[in-house]
């Protein structure tokens, strides 16, 4: 059926490798450098902060944020944004808390699947109705919040028997918090899948230039819906972590994680316009944001100055981590 093209390319491959330059490599490590600098600064402010226990606590604390940011990073890479992740996570905590007594251990995969489905529905609305993702997910945020309120009866749902999710509170080898390890696993898994398959280039192409990607035959719509789906699943998993930590689900439990999650993505150096960035960057970004959220007050910065410092540091961190050579216009 298909016509083979006899016109074969010339045989011997030309050699012409030019690896990334040192400066470029440095910008790649910028999020890590920012992270280390921040830890150092906090340690100077309060030497007690630099203990293994304290740092493990940071890692454990950061886990839900990492997962949340990792999922949303995919959408940002596609050039969109997901404002519904936090509301979706809140709703999922409620669902999980409600279903745990009935479904037991099965509840976890079920709620993650439900969250993924909700993400996919938003993706579908975005792609089919051609509504900007900002609007779809802004609407999604309010709708999901409302559903969470109604489903929970506007109250907290206690988890009496939390054994099915308690494993997330364990410590691997007595040191590494399980939730942090799982967050790392999620990031590594998604990053590996992207790297090993054409998805990486499809996502970047969609983010850099959606029309070019579409006319090259890239399954842009599927990629976007998939990104929303994964983002939803990640929100669901983050919710499981929150439930295991809080022993309950609440209709507004995760709501305040939205802006930190977006901040984590941007502080990691992922371009908010799409295309350039990675999940690893978001991981570093999430740690930076968590350090700012909990580290500043713990080392004794008063509340008012804490907010001012948070604002200043986050802006400076973004200025440091963003790779300007990859982003032509900054809006």
């Amino acid at each position: 059926m298909s016509t083979p093209v006899a016109m074969q390319p010339v045989a011997e491959p030309a050699t012409g490798r030019n690896g990334p330059r040192a400066a470029q490599r440095l910008t790649g490590f910028m999020p890590l450098i920012a992270l280390v600098a921040l830890v150092a600064a906090l340690a100077v402010a309060d030497p007690d902060f630099l203990t293994a226990r304290s740092l493990t606590a940071v890692a454990r604390t950061a886990a839900p944020l990492i997962v949340l940011a990792a999922g949303a990073t995919l959408i940002v890479l596609c050039g969109g944004i997901d404002l519904s992740i936090a509301a979706l996570a809140s709703l999922t905590t409620v669902l999980l808390a409600l279903w745990l007594p009935h479904l037991g251990g099965l509840a976890t995969p079920v709620v993650i699947a439900v969250a993924a489905a909700i993400g996919a529905v938003q993706g579908l609305a975005h792609v089919l109705l051609r509504i900007p993702s900002f609007i779809v997910t802004l609407g999604g945020m309010s709708i999901l919040s409302a559903v969470a309120l109604v489903v929970s009866g506007a109250g907290t749902v206690r988890v009496v028997d939390d054994t099915p999710v308690a494993w997330l509170e364990l410590y691997l080898g007595g040191y590494v918090p399980m939730s942090a390890a799982m967050a790392l696993l999620v990031v590594a898994l998604i990053a590996a899948v992207l790297k090993a398959t054409p998805l990486q280039s499809w996502i970047s192409a969609t983010g850099y230039s959606e029309s070019a990607a579409r006319l090259a035959g890239t399954p842009v719509d599927l990629v976007k819906i998939g990104a929303f789906c994964v983002s939803g699943a990640c929100a669901g998993f983050a919710a499981v972590m929150l439930v295991s930590r809080q022993y309950s689900g609440g209709p507004t439990m995760a709501d305040n994680l939205l802006l930190p999650a977006v901040a984590a993505i941007v502080v990691g150096g992922t371009a908010i316009t799409g295309g350039h960035g990675s999940l690893w960057r978001s991981l570093a970004g999430a740690l930076v944001v968590t350090l700012l959220r909990v580290g500043l007050p713990i080392v004794g910065v008063p509340s008012a100055y804490e907010q001012i410092l948070y604002g200043v540091i986050i802006v400076v961190a973004v200025a440091l981590t963003l790779d300007w050579s990859k982003v032509s216009i900054i809006k």
């Binding site: 390319p9 491959p13 030309a14 280039s201």
Partner: protein, 517 residues
Amino acid sequence: MSVPAEREPTTSAPVPALEVRGLVKHYPGVKALDGVDLVVHQHEVLGLAGENGAGKSTLLKALVGLVTPDAGEIYVRGEAVKLRSVVDAADHGIGMVFQEQSLVPNLTAAENILLGGEGGAVRRGVYRWDVMRRLAQEQLDKIGSKIDPLARTDSLSFADRQMVEIAKVLRIEQRSQHPPVIILDEPTSVLESKEIETLFAQIRRLREFASVVFVSHRLDEVLDVCDRVAVLRNGQSVGEVATAGAVPRELHRMMIGSTGSDDHYHENAATAVEAEQPRLSVRGLSGQTFRDIDLDVAAGEIVAIVGVHGSGREDVCRALFGAEPTTAGEIRMDGKKISLPNTRAACAAGIGYVPAERKTEGMVGPMSVADNMTLTKQKARCSGPFVAPGKQAGLVDRWIERLSIRTPGRDTPIQRLSGGNQQKVVLARWLVGGDIRLLLLDHPTRGLDIGARSEVYRLMRELAANGVATVLLADSLEEAIGMADRILVMNDGRVVAEVACPNGGKPSPLDLVKEMV
């Protein structure tokens, strides 16, 4: 920066309007300019010719302060200058119409014309629309354009926008007290022949009060409108030609360093088409901008569609690639009915599309040559669902070699390549899979130099010989006639005529124009 004082004319020869000596510009991996010398006399139209990537755009950008040269001098009317920005250049009376159009789409034509130098139209930051309208009208009158200065730019036709660009560049007259130098980087590559005529009339008029630098890959045009042609090759000046009596072949020889073939369209390589069953068969296709399109393309056949702007041929192409919704009609490939809800389906059916707007639709600028080339065809770079980096690299390198794409390497972002080389990468995208059956080429040679063009033509012939069906929206009528086996003429969304175009029995452009309007 102060306006340089006129130098005392010591000799009888007038000072050149612009002079460039030993300009050098390095980019990572390339030497875009390698000691270029150039002289632009007053009141002359200077042509600039050279292959893709010869450094023309880079040189011109250096002249308007967008590129800072690593070495070399620029003299304006005998005065050495350092140009740091477009404003700087404008103050020295140098202005440029860029290769890609550069107007703000959501502003009025008047605002675009006066952008950055509103003069009396803006007092203390406040607009005076009446003054603005008047000033813009003056500029438009100068080039004889009839468009409404207060029309929004995105509502204008392409040709009108080009006029606005020229009117805008002419504003620099007001900034410097001297005759301006106006640079036109490939202004004709997107124009129809009628519009080109108008443009040339403008250029000839400009000569009265300005100097013009003109770049085009259509050498006949260059010889037609210019007084003198300077030739660049590999970032070096290789000589110049007075146009009187010169022929394109001579110019071409200077550009590439050897004589090109006479058979520009490789008509000898054209293969006879024996069509038992058409590869592509379209019946009654209708969409928003076209109706009742019937179209057959046999395997190995090249069918060109010609028409004026807005004839709808581009949308037909997109519809055939699943990128534009259709309301009625059926499409068959090799007799089998297919539906094209999206571009993915078209790719799966073995259809490839090269869009006209390369920058925004053809390529993903920041991504590497390799990724751009293998964006579509999974089999070409994957084993199973996973990317095989070695396989991909080998394949890409071979195609870079095969199409002589000039790039520092396969990992270079495609946006760093010159226009022609970018286009080759975009074309290669459809070839790497080896399963292409129908190619839709929308202006595939737009902005390509004569050598690259020739290669694209040969490629098309070779593909045709291997049974690929081709639909071509040609850059010019000559190209359509030269390449096609059959030409469809579209007007206002309908196919109005079909002209056979066999080797040896080619119609003349005039025959086609009659049908088009």
